[in-house]
């Protein structure tokens, strides 16, 4: 117990950093759930592909740590752009391959879940077999820096060196900590505004409220669904870069656990609720850290899931309730 109090600031900041990543990935789950009432199981792979895109950009540019600040910023922005583009693209592909036909057929939700699970396996495996795929198309040697040790951890060479900024309660808050938390909040605010103010955003809300009525009012439902996947994918791409800045490695199957956690965060905050996703992420990140500190890291997931159960029992629609999604009678 005293350990928790003595290191409260450190546990809090690192918990928030982790929570920010959860929150950004959770946005993808929450948006798709809000619009389609479907659990987009493969969203974790959208994130995973984004993380590789960011890694590959840094590999291609080969920037060493400690470069001049404008170079560092440029590389990071390029990596961000690549991650968002790839994640957005994979999300759109997912919508096309795993969902569109089922949505048109109005198939049971469970079937869409299985479709997404299949897509998730396939996407993760493709990344895990990327060396084989490269060999197959005869580019194994050319692509070596991008495809080697395909089943292993791949390191992200962060061009930005971690530096302490200021010290609070015995913990030196680093530039990376600040960047991650601030960007996550900014992205969330931007998304919130997007959904409130833009035409597409209004469309997303309309479809989430009542898909049929929205269609009658001239909203192109299919376009809105695509936009939703795209936006969720872009957020996952941003999350991927932030994740790499903090944790430094990615892996073909890294998405699965993160996806489970992010989905938990989305439910915790109130699935379908954009602000809830980030709040859920923060709560989950903090709970994991505090829980680990109190009873040991081996119990962190147990703490996280128990917290989820308890919150759902007292607030059946999550902390902030469902807002994108319709209140079902």
């Amino acid at each position: 117990m005293s350990f928790l109090f003595n290191n409260f600031v450190e546990l809090t900041v690192t918990g928030l950093v982790l929570g920010a990543v959860y929150g950004l990935v959770a946005l993808g789950y929450t948006l798709v759930y809000g619009v389609l009432q479907l659990i987009n199981f493969a969203h974790s792979e959208v994130w995973m592909f984004g993380s590789f895109a960011a890694v590959w950009v840094t590999v291609a540019l080969g920037v060493a740590p400690g470069s001049a600040m404008p170079v560092v910023i440029g590389v990071l922005l390029l990596a961000l752009l690549a991650a968002m583009t790839v994640s957005g693209g994979v999300a759109l592909l997912l919508e096309r391959v795993a969902y569109r036909r089922l949505i048109r057929l109005d198939a049971p939700k469970l079937v869409a879940l299985i479709s997404a699970i299949g897509a998730s396996f396939a996407l993760a495996e493709i990344m895990g077999l990327r060396d084989r795929v490269a060999g197959w198309i005869g580019l194994r040697d050319t692509l070596d820096p991008y495809v080697r040790s395909a089943r292993d951890n791949t390191r992200f060479q962060n061009p930005l060196e971690t530096e302490g900024l200021f010290t609070v309660g015995g913990y030196t808050v680093s530039n990376v900590d600040v960047i991650i938390i601030v960007s996550a909040v900014l992205m969330m605010v931007a998304l919130d505004q997007f959904i409130r103010r833009t035409r597409t955003g209004r469309g997303i809300r309309a479809v989430a409220q009542d898909s049929e009525a929205a269609a009658l009012m001239g909203v192109n439902r299919n376009r809105i669904i695509r936009a939703t996947f795209l936006v969720g994918g872009i957020m996952a791409g941003a999350a991927a870069l932030l994740y790499l800045m903090r944790f430094g490695v990615t892996r073909w199957n890294a998405g699965f656990l993160l996806g489970v956690k992010a989905f938990t965060a989305a439910v915790l905050g109130g699935i379908g609720n954009v602000r809830g996703a980030l709040l859920g992420g923060f709560v989950l990140g903090l709970a994991e850290n505090y829980g680990s500190a109190l009873i040991g890291s081996e119990w962190r997931d147990v703490v996280a899931f128990l917290l989820l159960v308890v919150i759902l029992l007292f607030r059946p629609t999550g902390l902030l309730g469902e807002s994108l999604g319709r209140a079902r009678a």
């Binding site: 350990f3 003595n6 290191n7 450190e10 546990l11 690192t14 918990g15 950093v17 982790l18 895990g128 080697r148 040790s149 089943r151 292993d152 951890n153 791949t154 390191r155 060479q157 971690t162 302490g164 030196t172 680093s174 944790f247 430094g248 490695v249 892996r251 199957n253 890294a254 656990l257 993160l258 994991e288 850290n289 680990s292 500190a293 040991g296 890291s297 081996e298 962190r300 997931d301």
Partner: protein, 384 residues
């Protein structure tokens, strides 16, 4: 594989091509060249048993490649005695291991197995191999209990956790002269077992412990605990994936304690994951740094386009024990088992002899150090 096949035999060619893909051995060539003269070596195979797919695939592939290299070199040197390699991909799953082990004992051509790779699958496959009289040499399963089950076919070429753990503790106490040790494990059978032994051996010097989960990427709570304990060394029992992440996050948080790990981390993947943070890490391993290693290293790199990784060298040794036996005419399970039990020879990792439980008799634990991005030998650790 030749593609200049005469018309009229395309089907046969396809069949050959397919089966060649399946076993990746020289089996078919031998059959088609109308063998027979090979006499004692006809239709002999050794097996690799362990993960080739799934989450543990990378460790398994390291081992398979070691075995593959040994078999390929053997076949090249002994044109009249071709041995094929059967792969049993358990995905590290004890459940799948049951069926595969049963399959292996049912295939009379398979007379020896390198594996099973992990302790869990050993637990289900071990009794089956014992029943089928099929000798096994594991290159990687380090659970001390495995040799105590009375399976007379069981062997391994590396020291178990009970020999390595105290050595790591000795090193921490005598060489690093650490007074405050923090022990972390990954809750795997391997890591937790090892950490427990280190914890016992280090006694009062242990200032804290924590357990992480394999697959976890955020270790902030653990890092915080290490830091606030004021430890000057951290022992981690587990594999290189988590080790890389842990040490990187420790260094990022400004923890300077010496990072001590065991053979599960002796892999280029550790340095790949940790980058500069890996510098100075101490890796204990019950394996010699042999002169032959250079030759092995080069051959391996040429064959697989990557440096040998965790347990590749052990697998190479294990396979060679069996291959030597086959060359001596031990081409059935019973005689090969006897050969292995009586074996004594120089491997690239150690001098190999087995005691009656199948444990290696000469275990010397060495400490390695990460310097300039390379894992280099540091010194032998005296254990008593």
């Amino acid at each position: 594989m030749r593609f200049s096949v005469k018309t009229g035999a395309p089907l046969l060619a396809l069949a050959l091509a397919l089966s060649a893909c399946g076993t990746s051995g020289g089996d078919d060539e031998e059959a088609s060249s109308g063998g027979g003269e090979a006499g004692t070596c006809e239709d002999v195979a050794i097996g690799y048993f362990g993960a080739l797919t799934g989450a543990a695939a990378n460790l398994g592939i390291n081992i398979r490649n070691g075995v593959q290299l040994a078999v390929d070199q053997f076949n090249e040197e002994n044109a009249d005695c071709q041995v094929s390699l059967e792969e049993y991909d358990s995905a590290g799953d004890p459940n799948q291991a049951t069926g595969l082990a049963t399959q292996a004992i049912g295939d009379d051509s398979v007379i020896g197995i390198v594996g099973p790779a992990f302790s869990g699958e050993s637990d289900t496959a071990g009794p089956i191999f014992a029943e089928g009289g099929l000798p096994t040499i594991s290159a990687s399963a380090t659970n001390p209990d495995l040799s105590q089950n009375g399976w007379d076919t069981f062997h391994r070429v590396l020291g178990n956790d009970a020999s390595q753990g105290p050595a790591a503790a000795t090193y921490i106490a005598d060489v690093i002269k650490s007074e405050k040790v923090f022990v972390v494990d990954d809750a795997s059978a391997y890591g937790a077992g090892l950490a427990e032994i280190v914890e016992e051996s280090a006694g009062d010097a242990v200032v804290g412990t924590d357990t992480i989960q394999t697959g976890q990427t955020d270790f902030s709570a653990t890092v915080t605990a290490i830091r606030s304990s004021g430890a000057d060394s951290v022992f981690f029992g587990g594999y290189y994936a988590e080790a890389g992440l842990l040490v990187q996050q420790m260094r990022a948080a400004g923890v300077e304690a010496t990072f001590v790990v065991a053979d599960g981390v002796k892999d280029p993947g550790f340095i790949e994951a940790a980058g500069d943070a890996a510098e100075g890490t101490i890796i204990t391993c019950p394996c010699l740094p042999p002169e032959e290693e250079q030759e092995f290293y080069a051959a391996f790199e040429e064959a697989f386009g990557a440096a040998p990784a965790t347990y590749s060298a052990e697998a190479f040794d294990a396979a060679n024990v069996m291959l030597e036996g086959i060359l001596e005419g031990n081409t059935d399970r019973e005689s090969l088992l006897e050969w292995i039990n009586d074996y004594s020879g120089e491997g690239i990792t150690k001098t190999i002899t087995f005691d009656e439980d199948g444990e290696p008799e000469n275990i010397s634990v060495w400490a390695y150090k990460v310097e300039n991005g390379e894992i280099v030998a540091d010194q032998e650790i005296e254990t008593n």
